[in-house]
Structure formats: structure tokens, C-alpha cells
């Protein structure tokens, strides 16, 4: 049954051969068992009929409730959601052309990093991936440098706090290292952007007692990200509460 299910879902997505090969390589690398592939079911919208998974990359619709799946898949989908948001933001920033010189050059780098993260999770999750989210940046003025930098700072600090807070939910050591590979790049972005705002503000997220960075629980992160996403991400049943 599982085998039929996977074949059907892969057929529907009309993935190219190299994409499928990459996904298989990842699943092999990550040690995902056939059993966890079935988790695709729980990452579907709640009103989906039968076992039809939401094909990766399908645009979500306004008001959709997005479920992340469970276990490590939920953590990866959680990261995928945040990376989608970040990538969409920097794509708009670069498109707007408000920033100049080195700032524009670095924000273009950051855009490409976030697209790389987004596409990595999309490929890695394959048919278990949540759909493409619809961002809502109506409160950002992309013609205003301060508005861009303020929002970028919020997103980068939130990203760092999100990965730091999600680490303890990850069971697979390879995923934990992957999250680590990404979070330190987000922290580099955050430090750079904070210093644009106020000089020597790069590490002001540190707590006064131990100099530790932020960590936030997924529920808190998603409630902060919620105003920027038209869909609603529901973590009930994902195992990411705690």
C-alpha cells in the first residue's frame, strides 16, 4: 500500500528523473524509512480527500490551514515555512531596488542564501513538503530603507531563535547538523543587519547572564510569523509543542 501510494504521488508531481534521484539520495542519506514516508498524509490539508498529498510546490490558498506532519518531517516543514517567508521577503527587497552599493550586494547574497535554503528543504521533503505559502508583506514599505532593515532584522533574529528552539525536537543527528549548518548562516545575516541599524548591535540578542542567543518555541515563532503569511500554520499534533 505504501509503495503504491508513493508511486502515485510521484507520478502526479511529474518530477524529472534527476529530481527524483536527488530525493532518493536524500532519503537514503537521512535514513528515512518507508514508514516515515507515510507521514506525507499528515502534512496534507485537513480537508484533503483520501490519501492525496498536497503536491510540493502547489500554491496554498488564502485561509488554508497548513499542517506540518509529525516528528522530524514536522521540524523540516517548519524550517521550510520560515525559509519560504525569508526568501520571498528578500526577493521583494532586491526587486524594489531601494538599497544601494554594498548593502544591495549583501542583501542579494542573503536572498540567494534563503532561496538555497528554501529549495533545499523543498527537495529534501519531496512529497512530504507543505505547499508554497503566500506571503503578506503589506506592512513593509519596500521603498523605505529603514522599513526593509527593521523587517530583515526581525526575520533573521526570528530565524535564529526558531532553529535554536527547534533543535531539541530533532531526532535524526544528520538533520540536527543540517539545521546547524543553516542557523549559523542566519546568525551571520542577523549580525550584519543589526549593525546596519545600530553600530555594534550585532549580538544584542545575548542574555545578560550567560551571553546566550535567543531560542523560541515553534508556537511562539509561528505566532510572530503569522501576520506575514496568508495561510495559517497549525502545529497541533506535530509534536512541536513543548
Amino acid at each position: 500500500m505504501v509503495k503504491q501510494f508513493r508511486t502515485a504521488s510521484e507520478g502526479r508531481q511529474e518530477k524529472t528523473a534527476p529530481e527524483n534521484a536527488q530525493r532518493r539520495a536524500f532519503l537514503r542519506y537521512a535514513g528515512i524509512s518507508v514508514a516515515s514516508t507515510v507521514l506525507v498524509v499528515s502534512s496534507c490539508k485537513s480537508d484533503d480527500t483520501a490519501l492525496a498529498p498536497a503536491p510540493a510546490g502547489r500554491a496554498a490558498k488564502l485561509g488554508d490551514i497548513i499542517r506540518l506532519g509529525t516528528g522530524d518531517v514536522a521540524v523540516l516543514n517548519y524550517a521550510y515555512a520560515l525559509e519560504q517567508l525569508e526568501a520571498a521577503f528578500y526577493i521583494e527587497v532586491v526587486k524594489a531596488g531601494t538599497l544601494m552599493g554594498d548593502e544591495m550586494k549583501y542583501f542579494t547574497d542573503i536572498r540567494d542564501h534563503e532561496i538555497a535554503h528554501r529549495e533545499f528543504f523543498k527537495s529534501a521533503l519531496g512529497s512530504a513538503a507543505i505547499p508554497a505559502l503566500t506571503p503578506d508583506f503589506s506592512m513593509v514599505d519596500f521603498k523605505n530603507r529603514a522599513s526593509i532593515i527593521q523587517t530583515a532584522m526581525t526575520f533573521e533574529d526570528l530565524g535564529v531563535a526558531a532553529y535554536n528552539g527547534a533543535g531539541k525536537f530533532i531526532k535524526n543527528p544528520d538533520y540536527l547538523v543540517l539545521a546547524g549548518k543553516i542557523v549559523s548562516v542566519e546568525a551571520r545575516h542577523a549580525a550584519y543587519i543589526r549593525d546596519l541599524f545600530i553600530r555594534n548591535n550585532f549580538s544584542n540578542t545575548a542574555d545578560p547572564m550567560y551571553g546566550l542567543d535567543l531560542a523560541k518555541a515553534p508556537g511562539e515563532v509561528l505566532s510572530m510569523a503569522d501576520p506575514y503569511i496568508q495561510e495559517h500554520i497549525d502545529i497541533n499534533g506535530s509534536g512541536l509543542i513543548g
Binding site: 536524500f26 547538523v177 555594534n200 546566550l212 535567543l214 531560542a215
Partner: protein, 281 residues
């Protein structure tokens, strides 16, 4: 943080955790007294009390990771404070930036020491260091870093980038330790913030060809690159979990972006190999 969740974290690697404490109810009563929310300050003590009562000892691997991290923090503190006292800063902003980082490194060492003690272990005493990287000769290749501000900046950039890699490599050994892992991750991203700042300072003051993020395995130290190749070896990776990031899914992601967008870990052996010249045996 909520103390009640610590038990669930522990239960994820020790199903009998509740049996080890007299009864769940008694433990809950005990912690109800200190309140549901623990501050960062009281975390190590609370953790330690629980671990000691429940296990008598903490898995030695956890203490090993924390002491390994402590060794690196102590070395960083020695390098930073030696340089801070001896180099000439070009302006107040650069001096203040180094002060901020030194302050954090002291606090990270304190966090590791408090956590190790709270878990019933013994923090390693400060080893004797040779900040010149001369195996105790005091005449190593980094000797001039303590006379030359720009060489000093380059040196601490390398230490921070390496620290990020070291914490990343150790994280899997802390799986199942809940808030101990979270603490290590919080230090890890703070080190990355430091690294980004130092790289920006190197660009500003030395005109160094570096960005806040690491491109391929380039140290950006010019004629000093050969000294630190091991610190950056592997950072050029563009393939993650078997997936090529360059041009991923048809996106215009170039190889340099692909390498920058993921930082790479170092194993404990690689880190020890790198820091050995700074230890006096």
C-alpha cells in the same frame, strides 16, 4: 523555560525518568516551589539537582562535550584578552566590539562551568596556552597578532569561524539532553554573530576580501592563508544531504552562494588538530 518539559525531554532518552525521581507528583511539588518559569540563571542548578538525584551521574559523553567546548572558550578568552591588552585600536568602535565579544566569551565559559558542575561533573581547569600557536615556545606563527591590530582581527576571525564549526560538529552528541543542547545551540549562533562582525571589521579596517559569510574555503587572510587552511577546509561544500545546491531546482544559485548558504561542521579530532599548537603540553 518550563521545568515540567525538562522531564519530557529526559523521558525521550530515558523512559524510566519518572521512576528515578521518587514520584512524579513529588518532583512536581518540589519544582512548584521554584515556580513554573526558570530563568537562565537558575537553569544549571535546577538541571544538576535533578540529574544528580535521579542518576547519580550524567552520561560522560555530555560532560565530555561541555568540557571540550569549555577548553575552546578558555583559549578564545586567552587570545582575545592578550590581544586586547597589547594591540592599538584604530577607534573606539572597534575596541568596543572586541569588548562585547570578550564579555560574551567569559559568560559562555561561565555557562559551561556552571552547567558541568550542576550536572555533577568537574569543569576542566584552565590549560596553559601558547597564544602564538608555537606548541609552548611562545614563538609561533601568530606571535605578531598581538602587536598588529589587523593580524589580531584576522586571528580572532579564524577562531570564531572555527568555534562555529566545532559547536556544530558536537551538537549530535547532545541529542536527548533537551535544554543542555539548546544552551549549546545558543552559544553556537552567538559565535556566528561574532564571526560575522569580525569579518565585517576585517573588510572595513584591512580591506580584506571577506563578507560576513564564508565563501568557499577562503580564509581571506592574504599571505597568512596558509596558516589557517585546516580551519576552512570543507567549507567549499555545495552538496547537502546528497542534494546539489548549485542551480538547485533550476534556481540561479551560483557555486559561491551554494557554499556560503551552509556552514560546515568540524569533528572533534579536526578541532583538536587545529588547536594543538596553542596548547602547552
Amino acid at each position: 523555560m518550563n521545568v515540567f518539559h525538562i522531564f519530557d525531554d529526559i523521558a525521550s532518552f530515558d523512559a524510566d525518568v519518572y521512576d528515578r525521581f521518587d514520584t512524579r507528583r513529588k518532583v512536581m511539588r518540589q519544582f512548584a516551589r521554584v515556580g513554573r518559569k526558570l530563568t537562565a540563571a537558575s537553569l544549571p542548578v535546577a538541571l544538576g539537582t535533578m540529574f544528580q538525584k535521579a542518576y547519580g551521574q550524567v552520561p560522560s559523553q555530555v560532560l565530555d562535550v561541555l568540557n571540550f567546548a569549555l577548553t575552546q572558550e578558555l583559549l578564545e578568552i586567552e587570545v582575545y584578552t592578550t590581544g586586547y591588552r597589547s594591540v592599538t585600536f584604530p577607534d573606539m568602535e572597534s575596541k568596543q566590539a572586541i569588548e562585547i565579544v570578550i564579555d560574551h566569551e567569559h559568560k559562555h565559559a561561565k555557562f559551561l562551568q556552571d552547567t558541568i558542575r550542576a550536572l555533577g561533573g568537574a569543569p576542566i581547569p584552565k590549560p596553559k596556552f601558547d597564544v602564538t600557536g608555537g606548541f609552548g615556545s611562545g614563538n609561533g606563527p601568530f606571535k605578531d597578532a598581538y602587536r598588529d591590530f589587523l593580524f589580531f582581527l584576522g586571528t580572532v576571525q579564524v577562531f570564531e569561524d572555527t568555534g562555529v564549526r566545532a559547536y556544530k560538529g558536537q551538537a549530535p552528541r547532545l541529542i536527548g539532553t533537551g535544554d543542555v543542547l539548546t544552551g549549546a545551540l545558543k552559544i553556537h549562533s552567538m559565535e556566528a554573530r561574532h564571526a560575522a562582525k569580525l569579518r565585517e571589521m576585517r573588510k572595513k579596517y584591512a580591506g580584506a576580501p571577506v563578507k560576513p559569510w564564508i565563501t568557499f574555503n577562503e580564509p581571506g587572510l592574504g599571505d597568512k592563508n596558509a596558516l589557517v587552511m585546516k580551519n576552512y577546509m570543507g567549507e567549499e561544500n555545495t552538496k547537502q544531504a546528497g542534494i546539489e545546491i548549485t542551480n538547485i531546482n533550476g534556481m540561479p544559485i551560483e557555486p559561491n552562494d551554494a557554499s556560503e548558504s551552509f556552514d560546515e561542521p568540524l569533528t572533534k579530532e579536526q578541532v583538536l588538530d587545529i588547536i594543538r599548537p596553542f596548547l602547552v603540553m
